[in-house]
Symmetry: C2
Subunit: 460 residues, 2 copies
Amino acid sequence: MLDPIQAVISGGTVVTMDANRRVIDDGAVSIDDGAIVHVGRRDEVAALTDGWITMDVGGGLITPGLINTHTHLFQTLLKGLGDDRSLNRWLLEMTAPAAAQLTAPDCEVAAMHGAVEAIRSGCTTLVDFMYVHPHRGLTDAVVSGLDRVGVRAIVTRGFMTRGTELGVPAPLIETADEAIADCARLAAMHMGDSRIQIGIAPTLLWMIGEEDLRATRAYASQSDSLITYHLAETDFEVAYAAEHYRMSESALLERAGFLGADLLAVHCTKVSPRDIDLLANYDVKVSYNPISNMYLAAGVPPIPAMRSAGLTVGLASDGPASNNNQNMIHVLKAGALLQKVAAQDPMALTAGDVLEMATIGGAQAIGMADRIGSIEPGKRADLAIFRFTNPFATPVHDPVSALVYASSGSEATTVIVDGRLVMKEGEVTTVDEEALLRSSAAAALGLASRAGLRPSATWR
Amino acid sequence: MLDPIQAVISGGTVVTMDANRRVIDDGAVSIDDGAIVHVGRRDEVAALTDGWITMDVGGGLITPGLINTHTHLFQTLLKGLGDDRSLNRWLLEMTAPAAAQLTAPDCEVAAMHGAVEAIRSGCTTLVDFMYVHPHRGLTDAVVSGLDRVGVRAIVTRGFMTRGTELGVPAPLIETADEAIADCARLAAMHMGDSRIQIGIAPTLLWMIGEEDLRATRAYASQSDSLITYHLAETDFEVAYAAEHYRMSESALLERAGFLGADLLAVHCTKVSPRDIDLLANYDVKVSYNPISNMYLAAGVPPIPAMRSAGLTVGLASDGPASNNNQNMIHVLKAGALLQKVAAQDPMALTAGDVLEMATIGGAQAIGMADRIGSIEPGKRADLAIFRFTNPFATPVHDPVSALVYASSGSEATTVIVDGRLVMKEGEVTTVDEEALLRSSAAAALGLASRAGLRPSATWR
């Protein structure tokens, strides 16, 4: 891995996302030993950093590295194999057969590919929810792939203990004890790791039982691990909770003692006002996945209502099989637009709101706001530099508007994680990108062939 | 302007969008003298084109040039000045003051900039609806800008005859006779032009009167011109029609004799099932602007219902002030996703459907299906070549899925309009793009300053 640089990033608009939401035109950020040292006007920082290397960003935007609070990077190999299908057909006809054929090398190359997409869109931290384990070692492979590319990540070790009657392949079923032991093993390996953390992830309602929620809670609380869980994504979960538990899914989670500030509830598309209050009482965190919610036709999560209730919301791409790229700039725009049209209110979610969700809000949502999510002295040096020079993003009256509403998604030029230059002037530095994409393409073809999968090809 | 090339475009998947929706893997298209000559397998076409230059596309996708059925390119200079506002505030606080300050050089550079965005996203034809005329010559300037960049276009000369009581600035008001005379003058200048046509565009319900609709209809029918009109974009128009005309807007248009197969009705966000039947009876065409409908929170147009009723639908970006870039690849994805989530049905609109809307459907919508919209011998040589080599668009199991759902929007490499290479391997050939973007940025700053406009900057 690269060494952290000592440098001054200078000459752009610094959007700090600090508590005062300070914005510094012609600003600078100095970094050393993996941390942010100074933040201020260009001349102020220059006076304090005599002799440091200066990187002039030429009038671009300097933001905290974006945070993607939910994805499943093994699905990188499945892009476009599940288009235009119902969620059940998508799960059972596409992701299930693929999961059964998945190998550790598949997972590693997919994670590396996905991490490069993250970096290329200015994203420095992602939460990968790895829920399929036909055999051991696949989460390890995802961790390895992310680590090699140099992003910051929380990899949550997913599991399912039931669901065969609804089509979950038997080889994917394991006990909560087995999954938690595997998770604890992996977590021990990454104890003290500056970039990689391990979390735990009971997959979703009908793939686990109430006792699994209790076991997960016990493990997470004693190990101080992030929990992720797909909550109320579709009407199916709502109906399932009503039929099997005679209560809402959120109420079940409360009964199981599962709710807490360390729970990242993904989707929440179908939470009721009562559920929202319940989640807010426990300071549960929310991951908003707008493109996936549209792609799978799950519905529109009530983000403004959740924010009004005090819930912290992070933004996310979801996996590449339900949002066929991992470009967080596209997610920013979609996140604002979906809420506007759903509410028929153009103020329902603004550029500022989604930028917050993708930075400090995301950091709060995954329990890392003490280390990342804003540009402040002492925080880890996770930075994204965007330059607006292409015709899509220009002319620029407002750089944040340009980033959220006009960018094509290719505007990130330089990206820094933990003080390391993982992308420099458009070149990913940690891997041979061309060779990686060739390996990824080969792995994708191999997996589709072994699993007997073909694209929907609704256009033929 | 460049000369048309004689060449064989070879070695990609040819998506013809012909009546049989033929797809040719490892196909080829030969073009000569501005027209398509042969379409077939690579070896078939090679045998018929001995001695022709061959351009190998290296396994990419060869599609009909995309068609953008609705934009207002003067707004290129206003990107990001109207974010996160109600449509009325957007119209009156932002576009109205800007319009009053608009110059012909502004319009020309804005149109050139927008045409470059079109080309860079694989779009070869666009319909520009130019509705603000503080003084004469602005539509001429838009035409000139589009012509210089070399796209195919229908520029519709918009007008408004009333609306000052609702905030339309008085200098923008003219009579229908004046507007139609100006339109006829411009149309005469472009009679027989291979790439530029002129249409007529009464702007929207509360900016015109019933007599203006009648005058427009008379002119369009005798001159064989496309009419464009913003129909039922928001609840405001619905309420206005009910209050002032005691009927739906579509019913008013019928009473005025305005409906016809040459009418491109833009938005149709708020049409009722009855309106849809009425529009279908007259074979009215529809322009679907998904990103703008979300951005302005107008609502979700009932596209599946309109298609079921037999209406022809084209796709569009809308102007850069309500969708801050003109990337048609982004519009493809948003177009499918918005309908899926609104219907809670992932089949509501598929990749195939939106690709159809952006090609042959768009051509039918603007009365040009005899010349463009599909790859068939005898049609004009308007082609887009997409290559999937970046991490967002790859791995590729299905090239159309990659285009619609995975692309970042920068995958168009080579674009041909009327047989002319307007973009070659990522280089726009007809203008100095860097100099153009500098001019556009300067014009944008100048216009904002003269009009006293500042960005919303909800993020500060």
